[in-house]
Symmetry: D3
Subunit: 135 residues, 6 copies
């Protein structure tokens, strides 16, 4: 079993806000991330798949194909978007990086053939990242 | 003359849009950066000052003081903000990274004592950065 | 289960020296790290916690809270310190990066509520890092 | 159990080409990596070993020794080489990064004493890396 | 005057060899870079242009346009190529990184409109880079 | 004229302390950097030389030779050392990074033949660096 990771990139705006809470509680919990006029990040996305290298190609997965799938299923729908308003698969979901990782897993997993999705890792800043392994 | 550079960080949302143009022309020129629901970045800010090292301290400038000034004059007013809506010193200015660098220079330059501001450098993504040297 | 990692930073001096050994053997085993006048590093510390994202916040843990705990329990006690002389929780312990990771685990683990500490990772240089998972 | 990782570096040329296939199919599958005049990469190699820190040294493994072994068994045989033509342990193996990771594992594993090889990780570019854990 | 830098990437193989010299002298001067079976690198290319930001866009140059020009004039002709054999504008030129920077300048400079090329910077490894400013 | 930069690395301990001042003033000015038990850094050193590429080699300077000179004149005398106590060319000099850059210039400049030293750049942490151009 070999693991192959491909890095992609997207920029997006978001706001952390729980509509069931008062403005005061939202500011207390989410701090500057609650700004009603949004803020944003350069998100770095690392997608890891696993499998046996194909004897004909030496590849777990063709990295160019993997990049295409990540772009089609995730990056093109997220890049230069507002995570709260513009992204269909984030509707009704608090756009924390944790929830974003789980949602990207659900977009990618059915699209990968002949290999297994292993991890969705997202760097929100160069000091914070999350990982989701599907369970 | 020695040059001292201090790196700081802020996240922000922005939108590139020229209100004198049609929506079509805005989309043509600014592409995805024209998204009306905003997008955002992790901006990396490098501030360079220059001067003779002080014989008593060996410092061109106390790096902790420099950090404080950059935070007070720039980062605290930009971090987790919307560059188009929330930042007083960007009012009426197209929030391109070029213009942001010039505006940050104007905020910082008068606040620095006993040394000279040399360069404002801003990385918008890890593939694009701008530099402004004051003229 | 989602994993959240927060990066923090500290600078410190240390010396690798086993007082049960001759000076010659110390130099042979530890090489330049045995310098009696100390040397130092910029240590990069990555703390990973795991848990289910809170349905109200979308967070495994509030990253700002996590940062505060790491600073209080580890970074503030290590930063700009001498690992052999100044750090209470390293007394009597050889200050290898391996042992430092285990000691930081013991400081952090009891302080984390509602989530589980998963990994302490420390980069000693940009070519050497260690990881400890608690067992 | 503590994990220790050491990073090393090598540059090499390679070509992905399956001699059982037509030139057309090779170009279709391998794209630009099929260039008959070769191309190359700066490969970053991360070797992770695991074990209990030695009570006398605090080390899982002496990092300088680990570096020596990686250089002798892998880097010196790969650096500034052609992976298809110059590397004895890659003869008859498609030089994908996946297969290279497995081959490096086989070179290193028998040479490590008193600790266990845990992972061979290779970055082919700063956007693609593979990992192999021995099974 | 504001400076805008755009980073691009290409992989290539090359060999340093002076045909006027003996094999022995080539090995002595160029060391491992003289390998007759080639070696290669991930080259990072930073192109800096300068100019006044356009009052309508806030741009020194549209970064997407700049990227297109760099790709058309340089990256597409270098990526996954052999610098000695495959690149028309390197014919008859020793493919040192220094000479490559000068040759890329000559390709890019005539293609840039309404702004001035300021610097071609190439990282050959993460420890060696060159810069060329046109004179 | 082409500029060639070579990166090297050293770890060292130091303490900022002006013996003409009271302990209180030292703590006030130098903060944690005044710790009497030392602290340390991973210093990254970038040395830039300039010149015309040699027509026979394409090199401004042989990068391997440059590395040897930097190691002999600077890195070997600084690595795993105490900048206040162990380094002959820093005796009597406040070991700020600014002063260290000037002192390294003085060590390197006379040792470089057939090219010109252009810049000594030192990163003290990944957020602070200094540059010295010889005047």
């Amino acid at each position: 079993m070999v693991y192959l990771t491909r890095k992609e990139h997207f920029n997006a705006a978001h706001r952390l806000h729980n509509s069931k809470w008062s403005d005061e509680k939202n500011r207390e919990v989410f701090g500057k991330c609650n700004n009603e006029n949004w803020h944003g990040h350069n998100f770095e996305l690392y997608i890891t798949v696993k499998g046996e290298p194909d004897p004909e190609t030496g590849f777990v997965y063709n990295a160019k194909e993997l990049s295409k799938i990540i772009k089609e299923k995730a990056v093109d729908r997220l890049d230069h978007k507002n995570l709260n308003l513009d992204v269909d698969f984030m509707q009704g979901i608090m756009p924390s990086t944790e929830n974003l990782a789980k949602a990207i897993w659900q977009q990618l997993e059915p699209a990968l053939e002949d290999c297994e999705l292993h991890c969705v890792q997202i760097w929100e800043t160069d000091r914070i990242y999350v990982e989701y392994y599907g369970t």
